[in-house]
Symmetry: C2
Subunit: 264 residues, 2 copies
């Protein structure tokens, strides 16, 4: 059973995961970050030791969680000096479990499908935690750890996780960007972004019970050419937004057509 | 003071608005729809008369609300046989108030900035209601009506309303489409869309207190070329999604650059 961990990373995900684990009685023994200040800051929050030297990790934690940005995982692995029996996981959506092969005999993935910020406290209770491991006993340990945090622990392989991450880029990163575009459009005309917030919240709530295809509304769905042309014209000073508007509109239209054909 | 209304339209917005008004003690005297069945269905819910004949509207309601699709407003107006003292509003984001000129001496706009479905009950309490009128006394009446429904009643002119509607197309219609794209991507690989729902909810909650520019995360924000190339490759069977992916990524990058320059 996993009772303590070492956290490699001190970014958004690492911070929220550490806070959540400590709340559930898991000890964070040590926090590593390339920047000593970041390691120290997070370590202070969870009463852990800290280091910026990978060769100085404490040797006998139940689990080592690599929660650094994707492009830094390889370098972290190459600098670990852990016993090969140590259980190591990474937390990345698009990185296969196999990158851990050869660095330990016990490894896996612990991927919470959520967006994290350092400053915004996250309740893990309904976050899907996607786990994968090289051995059933490791999987079981990760499952038990996941279940301490969340009611949704899912065995997901590396291919599936990549697909989830891709879908998440649309549903989170691109969606957030469209919030930002909305904010820009309002800001340019000195209108308050607060006016959009209830709409944004309801848009996200609606698809909790309704399929997004059925929830689609708006000029593109209605094929209201007059409004679409007028709105494109309003964006003439923002050719980037104009381009996105055209493509999103076209894409809505195509998806509607596709599903119309599905019905017959 | 507005104590009763006639509702011209029986679609998503008309339905939710009628239900909300009745709950606040406003009488819906009559519902019109081009389709008698739709008029009858909504009228049944709010204990009103109904008709599919615009020349048969009851003559002395305090307010006539036109809540039909944008492209039908003109035709409705041309077929109204109301006294020119009647107060008439439309509920459309992108249609200027001036379309009502000449059809009555008292007119305005009553635009609730929200997404509506017939079947999903909406709480109006925090929905921004955007009002405009041709005369201060009409404005006051609309303001009082709005305040019965919502804590956020805003005087917004036709130009501003058009901008709000454009921003709403991004933050609602396009956002919902990206939920749908996420659902498609998962469906193709037999993964459950439910896995994305907590992420979608948190993405919308996050910007309630954080500016979306600051809330941006993901491969495009980090300029993680390896992930972006890999994800584009995963979409090779869906060239439409691939195109959207490229444009959204490029647009995130540009907005980040723009704001970076703002700081110096």
């Amino acid at each position: 059973m996993i009772q303590n961990i070492v956290l490699i990373g001190a970014g958004n995900l690492a911070t929220q995961l550490a806070l959540a684990l400590v709340e559930k009685g898991i000890q964070v023994k040590q926090v590593y970050s390339r920047k000593l200040e970041s390691a120290s800051e997070l370590a202070g929050k969870v009463n852990a030791r800290f280091t910026n030297d990978l060769s100085q990790l404490v040797p006998e934690a139940d689990l080592y969680i690599i929660a650094v940005k994707d492009s830094a995982i390889q370098e972290v692995l190459e600098n670990l000096k852990l016993d090969e029996s140590c259980l190591i996981v990474h937390t990345a959506g698009s990185i296969p479990m196999s990158v851990l092969e050869g660095f330990s005999n016990n490894y896996g993935v612990f991927y919470p499908l959520q967006t994290f910020s350092k400053s915004r406290k996250i309740d893990f209770a309904d976050i899907p935690i996607c786990i994968e491991a090289n051995h059933p006993s490791n999987l079981l340990n990760l499952e038990k750890l996941g279940e301490k945090l969340s009611g949704s622990v899912n065995q997901i392989n590396s291919e599936e996780r990549k697909t989830l991450h891709l879908a998440a880029v649309f549903a989170n990163n691109f969606v957030n960007h469209f919030y930002a575009v909305g904010a820009e459009i309002l800001h340019d005309k000195k209108l308050d972004f607060d006016l959009l917030k209830p709409l944004i919240r309801e848009t996200a709530e609606k698809i909790q019970t309704m399929h997004p295809f059925d929830a689609q509304t708006g000029p593109a769905k209605r094929d209201d050419q007059a409004i679409m042309q007028a709105q494109l014209k309003m964006l003439h000073n923002q050719p980037e937004f104009q381009k996105i508007y055209s493509f999103a509109t076209e894409s809505i239209f195509q998806l509607q057509q596709k599903h119309k054909h599905d019905l017959f």
